[in-house]
């Protein structure tokens, strides 16, 4: 009987929701399942996207750009030496409630302190919950950078840094700096279910979490008390659809209104569909081919330049990126400030390549390996196909390239250890700062296990890199970065292949959606007609 009553209740609840669903629910065809709903411990874009509707940070990126604007902090002061940043928090910001938790207070400084200390302080009761990996927090150098975080009063928090760091504010707009409810955390700790904090997102965001059915759907509903005004949608649904072709079919049929990562091969058809807008934006990323300069024959600059002339980049762009990419000549994408457009890319010219190889004494060719990563990325949609094309190009110069690949974790580890001669990888920017890209070629990262996959350490390049990081003046920094791009182009430790163009098909009834250069999917300002 009890079951029946519950069934009945469920049915009624459902009917209510369904009629509301007809009102204004946006369905977003997402590409995969989130690991959990805590942006502090996630690293994948898929998981971060899934939690983002429920949360805010102190500052945020203005939608569609990488500009940092106020969010939970209304304003901030920076001390003259750049080591103290004081945030003035917004008042009257409400947290979501759940079936078991109703917040008794508004957002305040305690929430900020808790959110950072969980990741920072090993003695925080939450530090070890859910595996305790705070990859972004650590990777962005926070443990070294932070000296203290102090509560000045309920609505003022002061961050003290060990050194001035220009990109710090941008870092705080990243997902790892999400603000959690300290009150909810305490309640879960008391209930003995601390891991709930990472499974049920309770935040201050524009949408509150309803339910997650593993591998199929995530549901949010609009949060009427959102500090920036209730969103115009009533509900938000993530329809998890792993196959890109299936996502496109669903969008075509109106089963969803926005889709992630269309198949490049479907772009033609998508562009022709009268019900669909194909939004696009240059991605903040780079796909490249690294030459290991510690290994023969790539220790010879002439061989590296021969590669630049031998590999037909246009074919790669045409047959692999299928229009969803732009040819790259520098490490940073053109959307980042300090991009040096004066650099002229090496043209495809097998004869020149042959001449260079002859100069290097390798006219008979040589044998090498060519690594391709086993994962798909916007900056490299199909590394296997790129490898097949490069292999055929090199075969014309009597170079025998053996294709090598490993499981993803293993692949990256071995590349970082420098086991490869030639290998593909890429990078996606986190915060729009050039340093976030250029450190990939630093001497510090050239050590075994470091992220400099060319193992290239050039003093002229590295000195400028370090100098630019300590400066605040954007013009001075720009000049240094521009020079670095020339050095890199001349010595050619890696071959920049492409920057992706991010395409996002949305149905015509969607308005207010902006493609994020950071690869995010944000729905706060979206409307449905």
């Amino acid at each position: 009987m009890k079951t029946f009553a519950r069934l009945l209740a469920a049915t009624m609840l459902v009917t209510g929701l369904a009629s509301a669903a007809e009102a204004k629910t946006l369905v977003y065809c997402s590409e995969g399942s989130p690991e959990n709903f805590n942006p502090q411990i996630n690293t994948t874009g898929t998981s971060l996207d899934a939690a983002r509707p429920a949360f805010n940070q102190l500052v945020q990126f203005e939608p569609g750009t990488t500009n940092v604007v106020p969010a939970l902090a209304e304003k901030w002061d920076i001390s003259p030496d750049g080591t103290e940043i004081t945030f003035h928090l917004r008042k009257g910001v409400k947290f979501h409630s759940t079936k078991t938790f109703t917040p008794t207070r508004d957002f305040n400084a305690d929430d900020v302190i808790f959110s950072f200390e969980r990741q920072w302080k090993a003695d925080n009761p939450y530090h070890k919950v859910s595996g305790g990996a705070y990859d972004y927090f650590n990777d962005m150098g926070m443990p070294d950078l932070l000296k203290s975080i102090d509560k000045v009063d309920d609505y003022t928090v002061k961050f003290t840094l060990t050194r001035p760091e220009a990109p710090f504010l941008a870092n705080l707009a990243m997902d790892f700096a999400t603000i959690f409810s300290a009150e909810f955390a305490d309640a879960m700790l008391k209930a003995g279910t601390p891991e709930q904090l990472d499974q049920v997102p309770v935040g201050t965001g524009p949408f509150s979490f309803v339910a997650y059915q593993k591998d199929s759907v995530i549901r949010f509903k609009a949060f009427p008390d959102y500090w920036d005004g209730a969103p115009k949608l009533d509900g938000l649904v993530f329809a998890i659809t792993k196959d890109p072709t299936a996502r496109w079919s669903k969008l075509q049929k109106g089963e969803c209104q926005i889709m992630a990562y269309p198949n490049p091969s479907d772009l033609d058809a998508i562009g022709k569909d009268p019900n669909v807008n194909l939004l696009q934006q240059a991605g903040l990323n780079i796909g490249y081919l690294a030459f290991n300069v510690e290994k023969k024959p790539f220790d010879d600059k002439r061989v590296r330049l021969a590669m630049a002339h031998a590999i037909d980049k246009d074919t790669i762009l045409k047959d692999v990126y299928l229009g969803a990419g732009q040819s790259a000549k520098n490490l940073i994408p053109p959307t980042i400030w300090s991009y040096n457009d004066k650099v002229v890319d090496y043209e495809y010219d097998p004869e020149k390549a042959k001449a260079l190889l002859k100069e290097a004494g390798l006219e008979g060719g040589f044998e090498t390996d060519l690594w391709w990563m086993p994962v798909q990325r916007p900056y490299n949609p199909n590394a296997k196909r790129v490898a097949e094309i490069i292999q055929a190009d090199l075969a014309k110069l009597n170079i025998k390239a053996n294709l090598v690949s490993y499981e993803w974790g293993e692949y990256r580890k071995r590349m970082q250890a420098g086991e490869h001669k030639m290998g593909q990888l890429g990078w996606t920017g986190d915060n729009g700062d050039p340093d976030n890209f250029f450190f990939l070629l630093s001497c510090e990262a050239a050590r075994p296990g470091g992220q400099n996959l060319s193992k290239w350490c050039n003093k002229e390049f590295d000195d400028r890199l370090n100098k630019a990081k300590s400066l605040f003046d954007k013009a001075e920094r720009t000049k240094l970065y521009e020079e670095m791009q020339v050095i890199q182009h001349d010595d050619y430790p890696m071959m920049p292949i492409a920057h992706s163009i991010v395409f996002e098909p949305t149905r015509k009834e969607v308005s207010g959606y902006k493609v994020s250069p950071l690869g995010r999917h944000e729905f706060t300002n979206v409307e449905l007609k």
Binding site: Q213, K214, T245, E407
Partner: protein, 336 residues
């Protein structure tokens, strides 16, 4: 009978431990580890890697890890996923109904079509109908089902637009899962159109997963029927002037079904293997895609627990088939 059941079940335990041991060791031989694979292009510093390996107990000797694991298993604890931090058993139980629903539908599809097809082919041996049916069956039996699935999607979903491309139900419908079986849940929800939506999502996956069992059952039924139609008692029944329908339906079919039941039971393992591919093609949120993903994520607890649970089910069903075989065939009694 009871003694037989007890013996069979007791025999399962060492097999089960062996599977646990082999998967446990095997998985640890797989290159890569759950922490390395999680970090993206950035990678992870050796110190932090060591710290996490320590926290997950991966720095212990393998034998010790295994004993710990067995100890946990004995207490019904299958561990916690390293990527989602949710208990493996919970994840299994939320996803298994999806696979089960698909498998049951596929099996029903195969049986309902396969047995009549086999019977018809056998009674009209050598006719055009026989050749057509058996030709079709052999083609189905030879089908690369991942390709078959893509073809069906291309034709019915993309070109004709008759069936949805993937998923279990339209997202318009939302109800709390009661049984986990979408057909039942959607019916219980009472929402208009929910049930038919669930049905339309099931059609193509059912066909794809059911194709090989269908072909196998049809072929098996035919040959079993042929054998029995040639037996003396059937000839006698015919000679007595019983109607062909009675002969085929009552006498022959009942006996012919015995080997068919065995075949159906033996298909369960194949069905799980097929489910891996079918779920992969249709983004079906079931056990198959869960396990594939766990390999990609090097999620040791999920992979171990998943394989253990799946093979446990396969073993269990094989025992049930043995028992059913005994019930159906009075000549075989499990007494000794």
């Amino acid at each position: 009978m009871l003694g037989f059941i007890v013996r069979r079940v007791l025999l399962v335990i060492p097999t089960f431990i062996a599977i646990a041991f082999l998967t446990f060791v095997a998985i640890r031989l797989v290159p890569g580890d759950p922490i390395e694979v999680r970090t993206g292009e950035r990678g992870i510093s050796p110190e932090r890697l060591a710290q996490f390996r320590h926290e997950l107990g991966l720095d212990q000797p393998v034998w010790k890890q295994f004993l710990d694991y067995l100890w946990q298993l004995a207490h019904g604890n299958f561990g916690t996923s390293t990527s989602t931090h949710a208990p493996v058993l919970t994840e299994f139980l939320t996803l298994f109904p999806a696979t089960l629903e698909l498998a049951i539908c596929a099996m029903l599809f195969a049986t309902i079509l396969g047995i009549p097809a086999g019977v018809i082919a056998a009674t009209r041996r050598g006719s055009f109908v026989d050749y057509t049916l058996m030709g079709a069956a052999l083609t189905g039996f030879s089908m690369p089902i991942f390709w078959w699935g893509l073809l069906l999607v291309l034709f019915f979903s993309v070109n004709l637009g008759w069936t949805p491309v993937s998923g279990r139900i339209d997202l318009l419908y939302y109800f709390e899962p009661v049984t986990g079986f979408m057909l039942i849940d959607s019916w219980l929800s009472g929402e208009e159109g929910a049930f038919s939506s669930a049905v339309s999502h099931l059609i193509l996956p059912t066909i794809v997963l059911g194709t090989i069992p269908l072909a196998t059952i049809a072929r098996m039924t035919r040959s079993a029927m042929l054998e029995i139609l040639g037996e003396d008692y059937v000839r006698t029944a015919r000679a007595k002037g019983l109607s062909p329908f009675r002969v085929v339906g009552l006498h022959a079919l009942r006996n012919a079904l015995i080997p068919v039941v065995t075949v159906i039971g033996l298909q369960v393992g194949a069905l799980m293997a097929g489910a891996v591919l079918t779920e992969y093609i249709f983004s079906w949120p079931g056990i198959g895609s869960w396990l594939i993903e766990s390999i990609n994520r090097r999620d040791y607890p999920v992979l171990q627990g998943g394989i253990l649970l799946v093979s446990g089910i396969v073993i269990l069903i094989n025992i049930l088939v043995d028992l059913l075989y005994g019930v159906l065939n009075p000549r075989i009694r499990h007494a000794r």
